[in-house]
């Protein structure tokens, strides 16, 4: 607790216990290095063009798109927790709210950053707003993600202004005070936006009638994957949030939230996951028996290529879908932290697998009769860029945890003790 060990004491919330500056920097170092490498790799791709990657005309989307879809699904915890707390008034989830905002912000900004490297002409990204093709799912995604990223930044501001030094500036403090009252509005808009882009990310592949493996029927302009993605995202968001907080607890060696919060997150996650698996099963059944045969493709033919056997299909549904749901719902297992986290991990893995299958397997599978099954391994530049995003997330979260009251619940609660 001596000043020398905490050079940055004055920036850390009063009374908050934090590890010594040295050990904090030690923890940051590897992540900063990884981030540096990622920035270098991204720089290569921007300067020399995408020939730095191992993508090609047939594998036009690679690891990055998978990463984006995965990251954003994980980031769904942000809008969903905000929705629960502010709209559905689940006050007891407040302790993880700030944390959720930071997770969401890092996930979304990271994903957008990768997208900017992924496109061939990043400087023309704004054309989408200038010549929007409203039939395209990607337009929906672009509009909503950029919009929701703005929302997340705004939601992050009050958290940021809670920093001990920043709150000493009256204008900040007053603004924070006023802005905080309006946050529910943003939470509502954010929920609306991310609802749509989580969906349109699913639609992205569902509309590809040229790729019968991904193509799905649906309602109005939206294929069924639109709704499945929303469902899976909100199902897995709380799980991921739980894992992040648990990770933070592991790293800091402190208990940051009560077990009841975990229980609640787990329960919500579990229930939604169960619904998702059910819906997914129905969708898969329709797809196997109606959608795919209609365009002259044999559904089981998709799974006749190694390593994408039909085990993939069932894995995503049972051990990585139903099982975690049960683990997180049943009181017997949900009471035990270990089982709860295990369930959350499985759930996240399942949804990631689902995203992987939809992005990568879709492109690997042949469409023309004389095509063959394609293989693709990302180049080090792709991997490094992705690693950079992970590092970026860890760094931002660590800094936020250290200097902002992520978990310190507001003490404003006025408990009056009556006379005597």
């Amino acid at each position: 607790m001596a000043e020398t060990m905490l050079i940055d004491r004055r920036w850390i919330a009063r009374g908050a216990e934090r590890s010594s500056t040295a050990s904090f920097l030690l923890w940051l170092t590897p992540w900063v290095l990884l981030l540096g490498l990622g920035i270098y790799a991204a720089g290569l791709c921007l300067y020399y063009g995408l020939n730095q990657t191992n993508m090609d005309n047939r594998f036009a989307f690679g690891m990055w798109i998978f990463a984006d879809l995965g990251i954003i699904a994980m980031g769904a915890g942000a809008f969903f927790t905000g929705f629960l707390v502010y709209i559905l008034k689940q006050e007891d989830l407040k302790p993880v709210l700030n944390s959720a905002v930071v997770v969401g912000l890092t996930c979304y900004s990271g994903a957008v950053a990768v997208l900017m490297v992924d496109v061939g002409q990043p400087l023309r990204a704004w054309f989408t707003f200038w010549y929007p093709n409203t039939h395209s799912m990607l337009t929906e995604v672009t509009f909503c993600i950029s919009c929701y990223l703005l929302v997340l930044i705004l939601e992050y501001i009050p958290v940021l202004l809670k920093n001990r030094q920043l709150r000493k500036i009256p204008s900040f403090l007053v603004f924070e005070h006023q802005f905080h009252k309006l946050i529910p509005v943003l939470a509502g808009v954010g929920a609306f936006l991310s609802f749509f882009h989580q969906g349109s990310l699913g639609g992205l592949y569902g509309v590809l009638r040229g790729r019968p493996f991904a193509y799905r029927q649906g309602f109005a302009i939206w294929p069924s994957t639109f709704f499945l993605f929303i469902l899976s995202a909100v199902a897995v968001g709380p799980s991921f949030l739980m894992l992040v907080v648990a990770g933070a607890e592991k790293v800091t060696g402190r208990q940051l939230v009560q077990a009841t919060v975990f229980r609640k997150l787990g329960f919500i996650s579990g229930v939604l996951l169960a619904i998702y698996v059910a819906a997914k099963a129905v969708d898969t059944y329709i797809w196997l028996n109606i959608t795919t045969p209609a365009v002259g493709f044999g559904p089981w033919d998709y799974y006749s290529y190694r390593p994408f056997s039909s085990a993939f299909l069932f894995a995503a549904m049972l051990p990585l879908g139903l099982l975690p749901a049960v683990l997180m719902i049943l009181p017997a297992t949900a009471r035990k932290r270990g089982w709860l986290l295990c369930g959350a991990t499985l759930a996240c893995t399942g949804v990631l697998l689902n995203r992987f299958v939809l992005t990568v397997q879709t492109l690997a599978l042949p469409t023309l009769a004389f095509d063959e099954f394609l293989k693709y391994t990302p180049s080090w530049q792709e991997v490094a860029t992705f690693g950079g995003v992970i590092a970026y997330g860890v760094i931002v979260y660590s800094l936020s945890y250290r200097y902002l009251p992520l978990f310190e619940a507001p003490k404003g609660a006025n408990k009056n003790v009556s006379l005597g």
Binding site: N133, R209, R211, V295, A369
Partner: protein, 250 residues
């Protein structure tokens, strides 16, 4: 009246020489790529691919199939997905036009295309010193980072239209508008014309019994038709599972 330009490619006449590919590249100022380029990163708006009946030894049969943009008529996949209208169907010609100056390079259209007829400029277009003098006038060079594909030699259509306009005609003479690949084919395997015109040889050929379209059941109604008398070649039109499951595995 609006035309619907399309082709009927006689696979029985294709010897797989590749003249169409080179002629197409020369006409459209497609650069030759750096050493690292492969068959999967190449720029071949017109691409001749090999077909086989999957058998070995004396039983083996091979044929060749030229693949270019199919200029899908219905729910054109690439047009539907492009976020910023960089692809559009020209209503008066039915040609699917790629607008490289507007393309963001997101490659969504490439994943959408079931025919893999779209190509991404992975490298800066470059020519050996002086060779840029031999570039075809009227066809602008595409920059790195954008998607390109066959646009049915739009420069030639433009020339034909100007010629017609100069002669005070509305309709162009089809003989003035012959895409490079059609012109180059040494066996005359590629028949090009206006599918909207009942009497046009191409629409007659397209209606004949031994003509077919690739993945027709997907329902995008491509305007490139193929034609063969060989059953095993015809069988490659659709992805017949039981055929593929024994033939395609590697």
């Amino acid at each position: 009246m609006s035309a619907r330009y399309g082709m009927v490619i006689d696979l029985d006449r294709c010897t797989g020489c590749g003249a169409c590919m080179v002629a197409c590249a020369a006409e459209n100022n497609v650069p030759a790529l750096p050493e690292r380029a492969t068959a999967r990163t190449g720029l071949t708006p017109m691409l001749v691919r090999k077909l086989s009946n999957g058998k070995e030894g004396a039983e083996r049969r091979e044929a060749f199939i030229p693949i270019a943009c199919m200029h899908c008529e219905h729910e054109t996949p690439c047009v539907m997905v492009c976020p910023q209208q960089a692809v559009e169907v020209d209503k008066s010609t039915g040609i699917v036009m790629q607008i490289p100056q507007r393309c963001l390079g997101c490659r969504y259209c490439m994943t959408a295309c079931p025919y893999h007829a779209r190509y991404f400029n992975w490298w800066d277009p470059q020519w050996p010193a002086g060779m840029e003098k031999s570039l075809n006038p009227g066809v602008s060079v595409r920059m790195r980072g954008v998607v390109e594909k066959c646009n049915l030699c739009h420069a030639r259509l433009h020339a034909a239209q100007e010629k017609a306009a100069a002669a005070g005609k509305k309709e162009i003479e089809l003989k003035d508008y012959v895409p490079a690949c059609v012109e180059a084919c040494p066996t005359g395997a590629i028949l090009f014309g206006n599918l909207a015109d009942e009497k046009d040889p191409v629409s007659i050929a397209a209606r004949s019994t031994d003509s077919f379209r690739l993945l027709a059941r997907i329902g995008t109604e491509p305007k490139i038709h193929y034609k063969t008398t060989q059953a095993w070649i015809r069988a490659q039109a659709d992805r017949n599972p039981d055929h593929s499951s024994e033939a395609q595995h590697g």
